[in-house]
């Protein structure tokens, strides 16, 4: 294997990650518009290029050539920093995500924690953006985003703790390695670890929808009442960077769900594991995210908070207890069954 100095390797990875995020943000917007179109019995973008494939390029050019307006009365520094605070942590989170066994920028022991640490900065960006705009709609939106994020971080973290109890590690690559073999070894089907594993996956997925402010939990940018939410005052690429950050966060949420529950870069049949399986699973989940967005109407704030505090948190706590019990009981049960046969 060719030897590459570590700083250069990291630099190459970060450049690659930024390119990956930008390309994905552009083409996920295209995909979102296509999916929305077909769900609503339209065609979606079709004018620019074949199947509208050049539409993201045109959109990007338009966004970049627009003037960056800084409205009167805003805090100019915070106003400009806020979009970066949404995008940069997302880039940092990608550093520990394993695309395949060797395709990972930094394989560290606490990879899972790193992602949650950087994801928590995202809220700060939304808050400062909403507040720095000196716009009442933006402030309301920021307040909603934070209460939502805080409410949904709890069941998400409880589910993740449950997963760490099962995996015994926070190293994302090792978690994927533990799921090799076939479909039945994926943690979503590992009923011997906890009978509620598929439910845990659902909780995790729901929470990642809420954490990324996606429909049906997109109260932060409810167009009907808040114009566009926290990015109401942003024009041109300021808005574009917020958007890129949102899509990057969706990819991170889906990647984590893939790594923790769906076997990461492992093949369902145990053949030829690699990054293509990882990407296939991630894009399947992203398609589900879009599908959900264009199927369900937006919830109310009450419904949103009730779902978290009255359903998700108790269920994830029960799952935590059950998993703890299974860790102690399963070896005993297994020896008992072995002895009987």
């Amino acid at each position: 294997m060719m030897f590459i100095p570590e700083p250069l390797r990291l630099l190459a990875f970060v450049v690659g990650i930024i390119a990956f995020i930008a390309l994905n943000a552009a083409y996920l917007v295209w995909l979102e518009r296509k999916v929305a179109g077909h769900i609503q019995r339209r065609i979606g973008p079709k004018e620019v290029g074949p199947f509208g494939l050049l539409q993201p390029l045109a959109d990007g050019l338009k966004l970049m050539s627009k003037q960056l307006l800084v409205p009167k009365g805003v805090d100019p520094y915070l106003f400009k920093v806020a979009p970066l605070l949404v995008l940069v942590p997302a880039v940092m989170s990608f550093v520990t995500i394993p695309f395949s066994e060797n395709l990972v920028a930094r394989n560290i022991d606490i990879g899972l924690l790193v992602i949650f640490a950087f994801a928590s900065v995202n809220v700060m960006g939304l808050l400062l953006g909403g507040w720095g705009s000196a716009n009442k709609y933006a402030v309301i939106s920021a307040a909603r985003c934070v209460s939502q994020n805080v409410a949904y971080e709890i069941p998400m973290l409880i589910t993740v703790i449950t997963m760490i109890m099962v995996t015994h590690t926070m190293n994302l690559n090792e978690i994927v390695m533990q799921q090799d073999g076939s479909l039945l070894n994926w943690y979503i089907f590992r009923l011997s670890a906890s009978p509620l594993m598929p439910v845990a996956f659902l909780i995790f997925f729901t929470c990642s929808l809420a954490e990324t402010n996606r429909a049906p939990f997109d109260l932060g940018e409810a167009e009907s009442e808040l114009i566009a939410g926290y990015h109401t005052e942003y024009s041109g690429m300021g808005f574009g960077v917020f958007f890129m950050g949102e899509y990057a966060n969706i990819i991170i949420g889906c990647s984590l769900a893939t790594i923790l529950f769906l076997g990461g870069w492992q093949c369902p049949l145990g053949l030829y594991p690699g990054w293509w399986w990882f990407l296939a699973k991630v894009y399947l989940l992203i398609f589900c995210v879009m599908w959900i967005r264009w199927t369900y109407p937006r919830t109310t704030l009450w419904g949103l908070l009730n779902l978290s505090w009255k359903y998700l948190i108790p269920i994830s706590l029960v799952n935590l207890l059950l998993t703890g019990a299974m860790i102690k009981l399963w070896p005993l049960l297994k020896t008992f069954l072995m002895g009987a046969s």
Partner: protein
């Protein structure tokens, strides 16, 4: 003179960069009149501190610093201020002539004491590798040596939660 393009040189540059980030964050936090900027400075200072922890080979503490201080404490402070909305007011209260020298003296004294403590203490040698499973060691000591402290801290947190519930409940009528 260490060359810039060696491991030590780059590490030194990285160290200076984090120190600069931490100090400038702190300066922004204490010198800005607008509260949101002060909090952003505080957040920057915390990020710098996390970088220092990472530099000292304790990635777990660094990540926890980010997760707890930037992600939770700063967001809570911003949220609290946003609800109170103090506006863009000028500095409240007047400074007396001796306040600056006195605070500078206290700061210098604290720094001197810390420096003496840091230089004279026999620190245990840090683990050499990043992937040495320091999480495991921290977990063990939290649940054995420091279990009492750990429990007490959780009691404090519980009290805070109950207190905030009581406060929130007080302003609500039965309609």
């Amino acid at each position: 003179m260490i060359s810039l393009f060696t491991a030590e040189g780059l590490a030194g540059l990285f160290f200076l960069f984090i120190v600069a980030v931490t100090i400038s964050g702190g300066l922004i936090a204490i010198n800005s009149i607008r509260l949101p900027r002060a909090i952003s400075g505080l957040a920057l200072c915390f990020v710098g501190l996390a970088g220092l922890y990472y530099y000292l080979n304790s990635p777990f503490v660094a990540v926890m610093e980010m997760l707890i201080y930037v992600g939770a404490v700063c967001v809570t402070i911003v949220f609290a201020i946003m609800l109170a909305d103090p506006g863009d007011e000028e500095r409240i209260g007047h400074q007396s002539a001796i306040s600056a020298p006195v605070s500078f003296g206290v700061g210098a004294l604290l720094f001197w004491g810390m420096a003496i403590l840091g230089v004279n203490t026999m620190w245990p040698v840090a683990a050499a590798k990043i992937n040495d499973g320091s999480v495991k060691a921290i977990g063990h000591s939290l649940l054995t040596t420091y279990s009492m402290v750990f429990e007490l801290i959780s009691v404090v947190l519980l009290l805070a939660i109950i207190g905030s519930l009581v406060l929130a409940r007080a302003g609500r009528d039965k309609s």
